[in-house]
Symmetry: C2
Subunit: 170 residues, 2 copies
């Protein structure tokens, strides 16, 4: 992912791809192709924007999600295995994020009180404070600045929730 | 990205995050947060699915997009610099994809007929054939199998096009 901003194209490349799909006799698949390509492209734009806002806080999106998740729990801690399920990422990604956050003093590993084989990640006061500050930046510079109407934002959330539910997310 | 499929959560983690946002006094930013997180998550699911379908064809999504783009041109070729603009990816990613495709015999580098300083990537007959086969797989296994109504698919494409346009894509 990069911060390179190429010049706008004089046409919508996804609409152009749809036209090509129809021309090749794949009209039935054209809307799905356009939807998949749109999600890929918008994710790329959003991730670039989010990481740009998080960089001054010395956070990546993965580490931000980790400290936010822990901050939201009653005890400020969660078993590593449950973090993966909640953030819907691979155990290796959880380990990496916890390692980095631990080195930054945002999270520490603690043994589970009753189950010695379970390791918890616990957010530190510094982690909580940074999570709050980073959220304020993201709220201001990304989440309330998407440039879409409330109606459009809610439509995306609703339709993508149907997709996520249909793909076993919840 | 991984093919690990965790068990479904008993609740929608994005709806839960929205609730937390509202509880913390960030109600205004909650829909935008939910939209951004939804796009990130759906992209992850889709990329996993697309790469799963492309793997038997020995392609990644980046390489698939490259050979499709070239197959769609009149001459089957395009300057490397224009490929980056069209696929909206960093020049380094274009170089990597062209390198890998060249090693696989799907693409070759050729000098521009009139401008010697410009290098073109040209799709080979094997590249065209593979692009077609991979597209048939993607059309069947992903693009026509999203599990969403035509209306939902079109709504996503339409709203995300407004977002892309607002962010300088075209």
């Amino acid at each position: 992912m990069s911060a390179v901003v190429p010049a706008p194209l004089p046409f919508d490349p996804i609409a152009e791809a749809s036209r090509q799909w129809e021309e090749h006799g794949w009209a039935e698949a054209a809307p799905g192709m356009a939807a998949v390509t749109s999600v890929m492209r918008v994710q790329q734009i959003l991730l670039g924007r989010v990481e740009e806002v998080l960089r001054p806080h010395d956070l990546t999106f993965a580490r931000y999600e980790l400290i936010m998740l822990l901050s939201f729990t009653r005890t400020g801690s969660m078993p590593l295995s449950r973090i993966g399920a909640r953030l819907q990422v691979h155990p290796t990604s959880v380990t990496n994020a916890v390692d980095r956050c631990e080195a930054q003093g945002l999270v520490r590993r603690v043994p589970h009180a009753s189950d010695r084989r379970t390791t918890l990640a616990e957010v530190t006061p510094a982690g909580r404070e940074l999570a709050l500050k980073a959220t304020e930046s993201l709220n201001r510079e990304v989440f309330t600045s998407l440039g879409l109407s409330r109606r459009d934002v809610e439509a995306v959330v609703r339709v993508l929730a149907r997709f996520r539910s249909g793909h076993g997310d919840f």
